[in-house]
């Protein structure tokens, strides 16, 4: 990350934050830096958000800059597009990614195409924040990972952080970006990383790698992956909560894997993936979302097209099953250590 922020983040004062605090900090900084940044969404104002991500911001910046909205996702995104056309830089929140669908027409048909269809006359520099992903007994409508619906749309960027450090840096970059960004926050790791071993006690972020967040302004650029762990035996490509699950499982297995946290799905850091697979010859793609036509399919195809002669085994993908997200059978659904472990075993057997 040093190259993105040459003014030496090492020297900047920093403190350990969880992901919510990091997101809140990013919003606070951007609100202060840019008077055109406005925050809107259900319960984000006075109350500070159902996950506390916007806590304190209305009090600090006023109701004209941070405000509650009617329960209408079409209206939230539609109004944000109009505000962006005026010249503001709205950061709308959709309370759960599972509820983004009423706003889908505004995102797909409008926000994503504004620049293109007006030949640059109108743009939609909006950042749609939305908690996403499972692992919290959220059932069908508080657990979904709909990122593939957005990566399929020309004109949208899709960003998913896996640590508090990245959450702050990526969110600042997303807000400053002049394209519409879907910013999915893995709510399972808001308070601490989750390694997939749901039967073990969970840890808070405090003191863990990735939770040390510099004070003040810095950016983690969109379109650049993070190599979580260097390795030579296998490339694991993943993002969000699954970064931590992959890390734990591969450590447990003792495989010398190179783990890549994509951070941005669009734009995608294909170079980092390509270079890694050329080195390791094997690739495993992991995501929580359902399998068929999931973003993993795109990753598998890209690796197959670009690294074919380096591959020593079929590219594998470990994903959620092609069912709606269940409540009681959550851990049978979740792509946890057993499912990942089997795939790793298959890939490593020769």
């Amino acid at each position: 990350m040093i190259e993105e922020n040459p003014v030496s983040l090492h020297d900047a004062p920093s403190r350990s934050m969880n992901m919510i605090e990091a997101i809140n900090d990013a919003l606070d900084i951007m609100m202060a830096r840019d008077p055109d940044v406005v925050i809107m969404g259900e319960d984000v104002g006075y109350f500070g958000g159902v996950f506390r991500a916007t806590a304190g911001l209305q009090k600090k910046f006023g109701k004209n800059r941070v405000f509650d909205t009617p329960i209408n996702e079409c209206g939230i995104i539609g109004a944000a597009v109009g505000m962006a056309a005026y010249g503001l830089r709205p950061v709308p929140e959709i309370q759960f990614a599972d509820y983004i669908y009423p706003g889908l027409d505004q995102l797909v048909s409008e926000a994503a195409r504004l620049r293109y269809r007006s030949a640059g006359e109108f743009v939609a520099p909006i950042t749609v924040r939305s908690p996403f992903g499972g692992g919290i007994f959220g059932g069908q409508t508080h657990s979904q990972s709909p990122e593939a619906l957005f990566t399929h749309v020309a004109g949208l960027k899709t960003v998913i952080p896996a640590t508090p450090y990245d959450a702050k840096g990526l969110l600042i970059a997303a807000i400053e970006d002049n394209d519409p960004v879907i910013f999915f926050e893995p709510k399972r790791i808001y308070n601490g990383p989750f390694d997939g071993y749901y039967d073990r006690p969970s840890r808070p972020w405090k003191g863990l790698p990735g939770s040390q967040v510099p004070e003040g302004y810095y950016k983690v650029p969109l379109g650049k992956a993070r190599v979580v762990r260097e390795g030579a035996a296998l490339t694991v490509v993943t993002y969000g909560t699954m970064v931590h699950v992959a890390e734990a499982v591969l450590a447990e297995k003792g495989v010398d894997a190179e783990i890549i946290d994509l951070r941005s799905l669009v734009p995608l850091d294909i170079d980092t993936v390509e270079k890694s697979v050329e080195k390791t010859g094997k690739c495993l793609v992991i995501h929580e979302a359902t399998r068929t036509s999931g973003f993993g399919s795109e990753l598998v195809t890209l690796v197959q097209e670009r690294c074919f002669y380096h591959l020593e085994a079929p590219v594998e993908r470990v994903t959620g099953f092609d069912t709606p997200y269940p409540h009681s059978l959550e851990w049978a659904y979740f792509p946890g250590p057993v499912r990942i472990g089997e795939a790793v075993d298959r890939l490593m057997k020769d």
């Binding site: 209408n72 505004q106 620049r115 269809r117 004109g155 960027k157």
Partner: protein, 432 residues
Amino acid sequence: MAEGPVRTGKPRGNLPPLDLYVPEPRYRPGDTVDYSHLQIPEPGLLARPDEACEASETWPLTLDMVRVLGDDDRAVGPWNPHLDPETLRRMLATMALTRAFDDRMYRGQRQGKTSFYMKSTGEEAISIACAHALAADDMVFPSYRQQGILIARGYPLEEMINQIYSNRADRLKGRQLPIMYSAKDYGFFTISGNLATQFPQAVGWAMASAIKGDTRIATSFVGEGSSAEGDFHAAMTFAAVYNAPVVLNVVNNQWAISSFSGFAGAERTTFAARAAGYGIAGLRVDGNDILAVYAAMEWAANRARANKGPTLIEHFTYRAEGHSTSDDPNAYRSAREAEDWPLGDPIMRLKKHLIALGEWSEEQHEAMDRDLAEQVKVATKEAEKNGILGHGLHHPFHTMFEDVFEELPWHLQEQAEQAIRERQTKWPEWKE
């Protein structure tokens, strides 16, 4: 063969079986048209409430109809905007120019110069009156049938035709279907094919203007058909909640392609009446009476500008032509409908008003029509120098990949190279 659905409910006493009501328009092809059921009030009778009034005070106006021009071609009543003859003549000329433009572009489509066109015949008063009642820097979020606003604001016809022909001078680089204009410098938001999406966007723009303490307001238009979209409800709710400085317009031209307005709820109440449920001021106007439309828009704009909140205006009019060049209205409605429309033709009504005032004549009108036709012809010829659709004079291939994002990402760069390769394979001599 599929069986029909099986009734599974138990009979309850003497209750009749439930019956689904599917609306049906009064007249179909070949039918004689009788408009005696239409409640067309006398002009000049409706009171004009204060612009700062409570929204609820407008309730009677949402069920009635603001009309200024009477059958005797005189302007009467409290809604008479008392426009000077010069302004009236300018509005008349702009309506006539819009119609002349529509006629020529329609022919252009039939001659194969472009793929598609949509006329606004019979609805010119709505666009042109609104454009005149607004400030030039108020933001318009139009549907696809407000070309009159662009023309009234002085956007060059040639630019419009370049867009319609998707030629090399098209400001939108041939990316958009004809008539989906975008003109930021004329306060005209990029038109989308997706219906009603611009309604909540206009509200958002107005909210932004209020957030910034600006004095500009926004306005948006949907047809009565699109008012059935969820975005309409979103826009009305947001507009009401934030008291947004916006004027929301429903152009009730009776038809949404082949569906009559009954499929948007017109058989139960007026479209303006919906305002009341949201706590928004509402007005229903004779959309073919340009003075009434001007007065209503001026009222609503003043209200918005004074921080008194949004207004919903229903413009009661008739879509005199087919929905688009891809549509044949003779397949679903009586040809007499447009001809017998009791509210007449907006251009003819203003023309007769000006003549009654002694400010216009048949001779002047004929001369104006000839001038306007010539003006459109000249613009068309100029635009055709930049090419017509499918005749090679388009923007370079690479532009297809630009503006998806601010910067070209690697995957689009690769695809752009592929497109250029394909082109060179097909035409080895080709140079861009």
